[in-house]
Each structure stands twice: as C-alpha cells, then as structure tokens.
Symmetry: C2
C-alpha cells in the first residue's frame, strides 16, 4: 500500500499536443494515420520521438531491430523500470493505438525532469519496431524473434535487412537486441483498450490481468460443385452448408463455454461462388483467445470434434491447419495491485480485464514482470480513423502510469 | 397409344460424328468447348449447321435475333412440329449441352430424307441464339424478349445490334421473330440432363414434367466490424453468424418442405474478411426452384420470416433484393405420355423428372405445347469439360425424339 502519492503530476495539454503533433506524420483525411513500420513516415516519426526523448533528459539508443530506447538515469540500481509501446500503425489506423503508450512514457520523463527528480532505477521508454505486423521489436528483446529472414518480408517485397537498416538496425546482429530480467526489472505499458468493455461498464482505467493466448487456424472444407438447379438436395455435398454449421458451432462454444474466451470466424471465401453452383470449397479462419491455455486447448478439441460430425452429416472433408499459437501472458499480481491502489488514490474508477489484443507487453512479460494500464476507446473502435480517447482520458492513463512507476520505484 | 413403330431409325455413328465435328469449333485442351454466343466460333459453327440442314433437305432461314430455322416441308398442314436447342456454350463448356438437341433434330431430318418420307406437318429444327446468357433467341420467338438494348450488352461492351448483325439478325426487327401456336403446333427438345438423377436411378431416358420456376435474391446482412480479440461475445453483431443461420434455414426448408424444390446459397462474400475482425457485412445469393409457383412463394415467405428472427437474435439488419423471377413451364401431358409410350416400345427404361435448369423449351412452352427428353449426364456433370454422354445414350435420345415426332405427326 502507498501511504500518499508524491506531488508530481502529468501535464494534460503537453501530452495532448504531443499526440496531435505525432499524428501529423502520416495524417489521413478523416483524422486517422497511415504510418507503416519502416516507411518514410515511420522514419520521420522516429526522428521526432528521439528529439523529444533528448529534450526530456534521456539518452537515446537504437538496438539491432530498430527499437528506440530512451533512458532517464537512476540513482542507485542497475535494472530499469520500463514502459513504452509502438508508433507504427495499420494501413488505416488511429492516433492513439501505440502512440499513447510511447508519449505518456516521454511525459513521465518530462515530469521527472521538470521536477528535478531521479528514481532509484533507471527509467526507460521503449519504442518497439513493427508491432502491427511482425512484432519483431519486442520479440527480439525477449529473445523470441524467428531467425528466418523470409518470415519478415514485407508485402511490397522489401527484405528485413533493408527495413532494419532504414531505422538504424542491423539484421545480422538480431541476437544483440535480447535483454533479461537483470536489465529490466518491470515493464508497464499504457494502451487504449481497443474494445468497449470500460466504456460499457463506465470505468476510467483498466487494470489488465494478462494478455490472452491465441490459436489461429485455417480450415478448408471440400464439397462437390454441382448445378444448383439440377442437383436434388439429397445428392449434394454443399461446402457452405458444412461451413455454416461450423461457424455456428464455434460461436456457440465461444458464448456458452464457462470462461472468458472469444471465438471468431472472421474470414471466409466460397468457391466457385456462383449463384447457380452448389459451393464446392470453403476456406475459413478460426481465431480463439483466452487467458487460459487449458481452456484454449479444450475449445479447439471441441471444435475439431464438431468438424468430424459435420463432415459426416454433409459428405464433406475438413482440413485444419494451425497458423498461430501464442501462449497467454499473465500480468504480475503485485503490479496489478499497485495500479489498482494508484487508481483509488487518484479517485479513478477501474476494472480488471484481460487484453484480448496482442501488445508489446506480451513478449516483455515472458522474461520480466509485466502489467498494462488501459484507457477507454470510444465505441470500442480501433484500427480505424474513428479511434478516439479524450485528452482527459489520455492524461488519466498517463497519470496512473507516472504514479505506478513512482510507487514501484520504492518497492522494486 | 401407338400400335407399332415405323421402321425409321437414327444412325448412331452419323450423329456421333456430327457431335465430334461441331466440337472441333472452339475446342479446348481437355475435350471441352468454348463457343460464346456471337463470337467468331459461334459464327463458324452456325455456317456448318446451315450446310448440314441444307444437305438434309431443309430450307434454312435466320430470324431477326439470329435464330437459325431449318424447315423440312410437310404434306398437309401449316403448323410445324419443331425441335431444337442451342450451339453456344459457357466459357468452359462441354460438347453435349445444347448441341445434342440441335444435331439430333438434324439427324431426324436426315432419316426422313434418306427414307424419302414426309410428315403431314412441316418439321423444324431451330438453333436458338445465346441460350447461355441473354436467352434472347427463344424469348423473342415467344414474344417475351426485353426491348431495352442495354439489357443485352456483352461483358466486353459489345451492343446487341452488333451481335445480331454478326449472325444475320437485326435488332430493329426484334418483334418479327415472334411466332405463335398456328405456326408451331408443338415443340420437343432433347437435352442432356445436366444432373445425376437418371444415372443414380439407372434410367436411360428422362420424360421431363416441366421446367422449374426460379426465384433469385441477393441478401445483404449488416453487422458491426469489431476487433475479434477485444470484443466480448455478447457485444458483437456478427454478420457471418447471422448469414450462417440463414444458410442453414434455407437448406432445411429445401430438404424438409414437402415438394420437389431445391434451395441454394451458392454465392457469399464476407467483409472486411480479416481473420481478426468480426464480420460486418455479408452478401449472399438465394436460388430456389420448383415446378410449383405456389410452393416457391411459400418458401420465400418462410425464408424471409427466418431472416426477421435471425436479425432479431443477432442484432443485424437484412435487406432482400429480388434479382430473378422465372415462372415454371409445365410439359404437355399428352406429349409426355407419347414419349413414355415410345420408350416402352423401344424397350428403354425411363423416369419422369422436372428440369431444374432453364432451357429454350421453357419459353417455347409459354405459347405452344412443349415437352423435353433427357438423356443421362455422366456423374451429373455439365458446364464443364468433363461433361459426357455416350454415343449410345445420345442415339437413344435421338431415337426417342424421332419416334415421338413420327407419333405426334399422326395425332396433332
């Protein structure tokens, strides 16, 4: 428990101005941002961030995968308290996803500097490379980045070495980006929720319990292409009827299983896709996420059982191919308790919730203590130009980040 | 009832050779044919057909929509007994769809000529224009062709007047193609089944009971695009879950309703179609066919009721747009009885079945007595290079056509 909170306080308007200035780089017509990792816009934004870090009294370095590390020196200890997020966006993204976490980190440094305050620990703000695509930045720090360069090739064909060189990295030194617990004692990431739970529950702050694990499969369903007029119902092998049964089974398992999982079929293609042809082939995706790896395994086993039964009753054939398996990362309970305590002291309402989207903190949590702070997303919208979190809400998140860093600087 | 059958008989090998020669024009690599209506290949094939008609003792004319009419003069009556079909194909079509009906008609004329036989009625073989697309040929004869030229514009942009000029027609004289019952007393079309019913039931000849009516709708289902990770199951408006419920409802109505209907969702697109986005929009087609217009109306009413219930339970919105409404055409019972009787005399097994694909006979049946004769399609496959009906089966169909024409020449 924290007795009283120090007098330090973030500057709402300064944070808001930083968000607005960063959003100018790659600005879209309707308030959104296009700043793909390793693009010219990304490079411009990185230069601005480095200037701001230096102005806030930080020393700046770039590691082999282009992660920018701003470090505000401490007084006593070697291991840093770290925060950060990313400044790359999806092709049509918002102004807050990632950027808020980076800019709130810099705001914390600015507050420390203007109050001539130093922590016992060094304080680091990390800008992770390419969170929206390969996630190479945080994976390299955690020592989990795949070493096959082809895994990273961009849609436009650019190879990873070229990408990293553009941002001051070097693919051939990938391994040097790895860090460990003796270097980073704890990592706390502030992020917009990207969902509608906080808003629906009328809470100001989310204390993240962990970042869900994820299974992704592609399923191929093979039926038989018959004429939709001339083929009686009982002579069909309709791949779309089979696929529809699977979609509903997955949705039912997602809704009815006891737990906090989500289960989604987001992608489906039908072939030959003619109005007068019985569908012969359906490809669809399955995405399931939960904090419990055990529950995820239960769900995928049940889905595969359903598929066997559906194949039998429709005369179709199913093939499952696993595309992704990300293990859940749980937040450190002591850090969650500190964040909750800070919220109480600041008189901010809060709720515990899992993060069902991936974040840089997921990889950081694989080697050090991790926690995340969420602020509400209006209408739960993200990865969209309509993404919005008010200046007040952004400042509340940054304030919780500042006070949490100050609190754990004493306890860690 | 027919006492005995005349001695006339079709020549299997001659018919088979004609099928093979016609299939050379627009031949594809794997035995199929590409002969789009009004194309260079179509024009070449038309010239060959006209030569064969003349060699078989027919006078040949071309009407305003390019229908080729071969006429073998009769002895007594004005109204013709007619047969025919089409020689245009889908982009990757087979050798039998349409062509068999035309070439069997010419074979009937050849048999009459070589036996120096004349019927009481004139005997006509009609090659209908563009059966696979606009169906302008038979519709113009029935007086039902739309008069808006834009309805006929080809995918490559060519207008209908240009198309018709290429094959000796004239768009501005469209109305002159119309004929009536005083000119054509009956129309009998031989065609491959394009389905698997005869083969499955081990029957040699299909006596078609009618050509089904068809309703086609496009349905739009609007949900909400949410992040598949961050949006709890109970906060979703998943358009694909709604669409899957509709697909299964349509399939259930198709299978369980008492009747002979088929109901198909052949086309579906999902948007934004990302693995990690809850589907926001689904477009799908509904195709239902039956001989009973009353049953078709019942089915579409039930489908729309299901949609209302699904919209309610999924939070989505449905819009139905009707794209096609074709009325059923029933075969003339007296003609069906004659065909069945011919089969018995020829010792051919037969079955009654509806045609669930459209045919030129559908329009002809709107103004005169109509019947159709089916022969089996191997594996029920059509509109494919794999389409196949054996020389023996083709000849059996042609023999039934010949004997039916001879029989009704006495009764009509």
């Amino acid at each position: 428990m924290i007795a009283t909170l120090p007098k330090l306080k973030v500057n709402r308007d300064r944070l808001d101005l930083s968000i607005a200035k960063l959003a100018e780089i790659g600005k879209l017509a309707n308030g959104g941002v296009c700043r793909l990792a390793f693009s010219e816009m990304d490079i411009q934004a990185r230069e601005l961030i480095k200037i701001w870090m230096k102005e806030a009294g930080m020393t700046v370095s770039t590691d082999a995968v282009g992660n920018i590390i701003g470090r505000y020196a401490g007084t006593e200890l070697q291991a840093a308290l770290a925060t950060g997020s990313h400044i790359d966006t999806v092709p049509i993204g918002g102004r807050y996803d990632g950027c808020l976490g980076v800019l709130a980190g810099i705001e914390v440094a600015r507050v420390l500097q203007e109050n001539q305050t130093r922590l016992r620990h060094p304080f680091e703000v990390i800008v992770f490379s390419d969170e929206e695509n390969s996630v190479i930045g945080c994976k390299a720090i955690a020592g989990n980045a795949p070493t096959d360069p082809e895994r990273y090739r961009r849609k436009d064909g650019t190879d990873i070495q070229t990408c990293l060189q553009r941002v001051g990295g070097n693919w051939h030194k990938l391994h040097t980006a790895k860090r460990d617990r003796s270097e980073i004692a704890a990592f706390i990431e502030l992020h917009v929720e990207q969902g509608g739970v906080l808003e629906a529950n009328n809470k100001q702050i989310g204390v993240v319990t962990g970042i869900v694990g994820q299974y992704r499969y592609m399923v191929q369903i093979v039926g038989r292409p018959n004429h939709a007029g001339t083929t009686p119902m009982n002579m069909r092998k309709d791949a779309l009827v089979a696929a529809s049964q699977l979609v509903l089974a997955i949705n039912r398992l997602g809704v009815e299983t006891i737990g906090d999982q989500v289960a989604t079929v987001g992608h489906m293609t039908v072939s030959p896709n003619g109005t007068n042809v019985v569908p012969a082939l359906v490809n669809l995706s399955i995405d399931i996420r939960d904090l419990s790896e055990e529950n995820l395994q239960y769900l995928i086993t049940e889905i595969e059982k359903e598929a066997v039964a559906i194949a039998e009753n429709t005369g179709t054939e199913f093939t499952f191919e696993q595309k992704l398996h990300v293990l859940p990362t749980l937040a450190k309970p002591e850090l969650m308790a500190t964040i909750a305590d800070v919220c109480k002291k600041l008189d901010l309402s809060y709720d515990y919730l899992p993060s069902r989207a991936g974040h840089d903190a997921q990889e950081m949590g694989r080697f050090t203590d991790m926690a995340m702070i969420f602020v509400p997303s209006r209408d739960g919208i993200s990865h969209s130009e309509e993404e919005y979190t008010s200046p007040e809400q952004c400042a509340q998140g940054a304030e919780v980040l500042l006070q949490t860093i100050l609190a754990i600087d004493r306890s860690y």
